[in-house]
Structure formats: C-alpha cells, structure tokens
Subunit: 363 residues, 2 copies
C-alpha cells in the first residue's frame, strides 16, 4: 500500500470508526483499525464483532494494499498533525506516515487477521432522511437498558405499525416510543442500543438519506461514505403497546421549562430516597407541585402553574422524569396518569410523534 490522502479526511474517518475499536477484547487486532485500498479510495474500518463501521475517503493510490494499526494511537496521531497532504506507505506490518515535518512509523498487524462481518444476503431495504432517523433514535435510545441480563431490553426495536415505523426502547421502568414515517418494507428487528448510539454519532450533522438493509441476523445503515453493520438481538420484543393507557383520570399541561426546573430542584432532595419524588396535581389550585423528603437532609416542595383536568398524585423516579422531559421538544408538556399504580405518560402537542411512559414507584 502506498498512497496520499489529506490529514483532514483521514482524521475525520478515524474519528468516525475508532470508537468502536476495543482494547477490552482478548483478540488484540480488535484494538486496531483496518486501512484498505478499494476502488481507488481508502477505506478505514473498526469492529468489536457486534458492530462494524467503515468510512471511505478519497485518496491518490500508487499501490494497493491493506494493514491494521492501533486505533487510539492512529486517531490521536493523525488528529494532532497539521492539515495538508499525508504520505502513507506500507512496509510489511509497518505503516510509514510522512509529511514535510513529521516522519513516523506505526507498528501494525497483518490485515489478513482482521475479522469481517458476514455480508447481508437478500434482506429488505428502505430509506429515510438522516434527520428523521436521528430525531427518533435520540428520543428513544435513553430508555434502553444496559443490563445484559435481559438482552432484549438492551435493544432499540424497529417495527411496522399500520401508519408508521415505530422505534421503541424500554428498560422495564420506562419506555420511549417514536413514530417514524410509514414504509412499504416489512420492518421488524431489534438493534443493540450501543449500535444506535454509534449511528447517532455518525449521522449527527448529516443532511443525507440513510439506506437501511436488514436480514434475520444483521442490519446495515449506509449514509454517504459511511456504513455501520450491527448484529441484531434475537428474541421477541415484549408486547409493550398494551401497557399504554387509553384514558387518563388526571391530565396536567404545563411549561416544559417549569416542569424541568421543579423536577431538578426536587431531585436534589431525593438523593437519599433513590430519587423518589411525589407529584401532586391540583385541579382547584391549577398547580403541579413536587414534594421530596429526605430524612437526613430536609425536604422541598416546588410548584408550577398548570392547566389541570382531574386532581391526583403519583410517585416517580426523579432521574427518569428529568431525562424524559429533556427528550421532548416544544414549549408545553402533558403529564397524564391514572392514580398511583398505573403507568404515567408524558406527551406534547408540540412533539406529537413522541410518547414517554414512566412506571410509578410505590410510595
């Protein structure tokens, strides 16, 4: 391999892929990135065996080839170099990188040993603007579990509904669902939330379309010069839609900013009690108040004005409430519930495709 590329493009590609490379695996080559010439371009890849990301950049290739080099060193090194043209030259398992002022050799491992994810054969595919997919994933990925004991709950579930594709995640304490636009393709797969987070990072400022291809085992997201392949999680996702109440005894509409403020202040006093706060909705006073009691530290009641239909009380985890409120767009938010035992719903007329459910705590 012998080629020229720019520091800017190579740094960008390394920033896209290097995060997936891992030193925690027993296979040392997984800590490396693969550099490989393909079709007169240079592809840069990393994988942790569950997720693989490839970014392909322009390059002036004199001699084709491939090599793997330590991801972290390569990323830090290329990011630190001044902008401009870089010369890359492979010499057995060494990569020489040269600019006018810098002359370095990085020891690598043969590309032959780099694991490749199996190709997706057949499968269905559909397209969606990156901006729409981003909006949906941002709002649901926070609700996924990171407890490997129940792998299904660590995923983000994509599935058809009559008028939409739904993305949903739940850790069994809360659930977030977002309605993406309808697709003709049959959509029904469960992608690891870590892959969804990587995808979010990759398309964070993209105005392109994303092509989504999936079979029984894998899903591939492709956008511009970047592809992400993830192994799907197997198993049946819980029938979560039956959890969502159809009617509510108590509905309070208030400014989202006010709600966040009173929830955050209350959370400070709820540290001792595992985040437990009690929300009281009062139809007569037209107020929502949050009370937190800490036997050691003291107690706090914070109040906000609201439009209220039906008085009631519910006890929630303050962290889940604050995270949910932060996931919404828009000025106003509705808190809906049926007494102290049924799930509590957050929704907003400014953000109609999004629904967030929080299970109450016993108080």
């Amino acid at each position: 391999m012998k080629l020229q590329t720019t520091q800017e493009n190579l740094a960008k590609a390394l920033n896209t892929v290097a995060k997936v490379a891992t030193t925690r695996n027993t296979l040392p080559i997984l800590a490396n990135v693969l550099l490989k010439t393909t079709n007169n371009r240079l592809s840069i890849s990393a994988t942790n065996l569950d997720i693989a990301i490839t970014h392909t950049i322009g390059s002036k290739i004199e001699k084709t080839g491939s090599i793997t080099v330590p991801a972290r060193l390569m990323q830090d090194f290329i990011s630190s170099l001044p902008g401009g043209v870089l010369q890359l030259k492979q010499d057995d398992n060494k990569l020489h990188i040269t600019t006018e002022k810098y002359n370095s050799t990085i020891n690598g491992i043969s590309a032959e040993d780099f694991p490749v994810m199996p190709a997706i054969k057949g499968g269905v595919n559909w397209r969606m603007p990156a901006s729409e997919l981003r909006k949906g994933l941002q709002k649901v990925v926070l609700a996924a579990s990171n407890d490997d004991a129940r792998p299904i709950l660590t995923g983000v579930y994509f599935h058809n509904q009559p008028n939409s594709v739904m993305v949903v995640a739940t850790d069994s304490y809360r659930l977030a669902e977002y309605k993406l636009s309808k697709q003709k393709a049959p959509v029904n797969f469960l992608v690891p939330s870590t892959a969804a987070s990587d995808l979010l990072r990759i398309i964070s400022d993209s105005n392109l379309e994303v092509l989504i291809t999936h079979d029984e085992q894998q899903v591939l997201f492709q956008s511009g010069d970047i592809t992400l392949v993830a192994r799907l999680i197997e198993g049946n996702y819980p029938d979560y839609r039956k959890l969502i109440p159809a009617k509510f005894a108590t509905v309070a509409k208030l400014r989202r900013e006010d709600f966040i403020n009173i929830a955050k202040v209350s959370a400070l006093f709820a540290r001792e009690s595992a985040g437990s706060i009690t929300i009281k909705v009062d139809e007569n006073d037209k107020k929502v108040s949050i009370n937190a009691v800490a036997s050691q530290l003291g107690e706090n009641t914070a109040t906000a004005d609201a439009e209220v239909r039906g008085s009631g009380e519910v006890t929630l985890n303050s962290r889940y409430l604050v995270e949910a409120l932060n996931a919404f767009f828009g000025e106003e938010i509705e808190l809906c519930f049926n007494g102290k035992l049924e799930p509590c719903i957050l929704r907003s007329s400014d953000d109609v495709n999004y629904l967030h459910l929080i299970m109450p705590l016993r108080s």
Copy 2:
C-alpha cells in the same frame, strides 16, 4: 436568623466557598457551610481545617443568627433556583428557604460546632493587583508536587529577592519561578498549592487588589468581599536558585505553537516509555527535532524550524515539556541546556518574568 438575600448573590458566594467543604473528613460539620449574619450582611464560610474561605454578601436582616447546612446540597439547590429574592429563616437547626414557588427545609448542624481558624495577630501585610498575583500563581502552581511524603514540595514559596517577590514551586523534576513586583514587607512563606489553586479560582476574573497578611502560621488573602486563610507549610524551602545554570551551550529559539505541536505528537509515541522524548537541536540545519521511540507501537520524529546557537541533545519527559510550554505567553520560546545531564531551561522574551526548569531524563 431571618433575612432576605438574592439567589444570584447567594449562589455566587456558595460557588466561591463550597468547594473547600469536604465529606472526606471524619468531622461531619466540615461538609457544611456556615451562614452567619455580620454587620448587617450575610457571611458564607467553609473550611477543611487547612484552608478557610469566607464570602460576605448584602442582605436585609430581620433577625441575626448563624447555622451550618450541607454544602453540596445547599450549593446545588440555590444554583437551581430561579433568580430573585430568597427568604431564609432559621428554626433551631433547620433552615427554611422560601420563594414564591419553592418551599424547602434543609437540616443543619449548630454553628457553635463550626471550627474557626485562629486570627492572624500582628504579621506583615502588603498589596498587589489580583491580575499580577493571578499571572504568577497560574504559571508556577502546576510545578508543585502532590505527594504528601515531602510536604515542602507541595507548597508555593513566596520570598523576597533584591528587586522582586518571587513565587516558585517544584516537585524536584521541574521548577517554575515567577517574578512579582518588589515589596518593602519581609516576605518569606510557603502556602499549600491547594490554597493557591483556590485563590486562583477566587480571583479568576478580579480587577481588584489583593491584601496579603501573614504571620508565622498563617496567610490571609483578602480581595473584595472574599477572604481566604491558609495554614502555612513549615520547613525550609530548598535553595533552588543554585540549580539554574548561568550559561548554556545550546540555545534554540522557535515558535511556541510549533514547539507544542511537535512535543504533543511525540508524546503519543512516548506513552510506552514513561513519556521519554529526545530533543535534538541542530545548528547547521537550524532545526529542533523531537524523537520518540515505542518498541511496541512504532516511532516518530517531528521537526520545527529554529534559530540555533550550539548543537546538542537532551531527553525530557514529554508531559512536563507540554505543560511548561502551555504555561508561557507569547509567540516565541527559548530552549536552553548544557548537554544531557544538566537542567534544561525554558524562557521567553515575551514573558520575561517567568522561568521554567525541567530536569533531564537519563537516556
């Protein structure tokens, strides 16, 4: 105690003092801040027994008194409240804080148990603009040791020289010295670098003067509404000035930015070798080059143009070099040394009051 104050002032005062409060001490009251009415104002204090900080703010006092409350909760809580007037009311060991929308009670500990630093009796005092003291401390505090095995090296040493007050710190691997303006008062004391860091934080955007008062045991820094008292470190500071060479066989002058870049890139390759990098100054080529060799990862040579008098080579710790270069102001920097064994000096004609010394590594 019953009073009114503003959220803005109280939040500012808590941000000044609360960092000193500590939950790591066995004395629980040290995790608290003291609120106390004094001369129709409200003083807010915290101490860890080595350092005490007090910030006094305006207040409309109805009833005098004092109480201590948990520093972290109080700081987080007051910072989270909206701006405007707060009502504070003491009720035994409880503090009630009320605004239009918030109503909270924080459990405290009686102010009688709060430890007070002894007053400074007599002692000398002098004044200096906060901006000058800030500049000096910023540039030396990084060189102090944080190894309690040699307490003297954990301090910042203030002492008279014929035409200046010098501040200096060293961890025995490197040394930083800054020349403050001359004072008539006899100055000779050693303040903990943690206190110097707290002082830097307090005067970070101050245009005021700082009044400095010290006796044998303590030093007091006072600026505006804030005072910081620190217990001095006892013992004789090493006679460091004899370490500084008077003449140099090799002097290289280069752009500080270039020097930082080549040092940082080299540091990446020096991770395996405990940061060891070799600097080569070449009078014929008019270049400074830095070489780092990592047996596992590879190697790197980075080069910058320089004005050179006398060729030579020296091996340094890359972290110390990068930190030193970042502490300088100005465009250009001079690297001066006498072969591989004697201390290496960094200085700048743009920053004449500052000198930074780094001991070479054996290579």
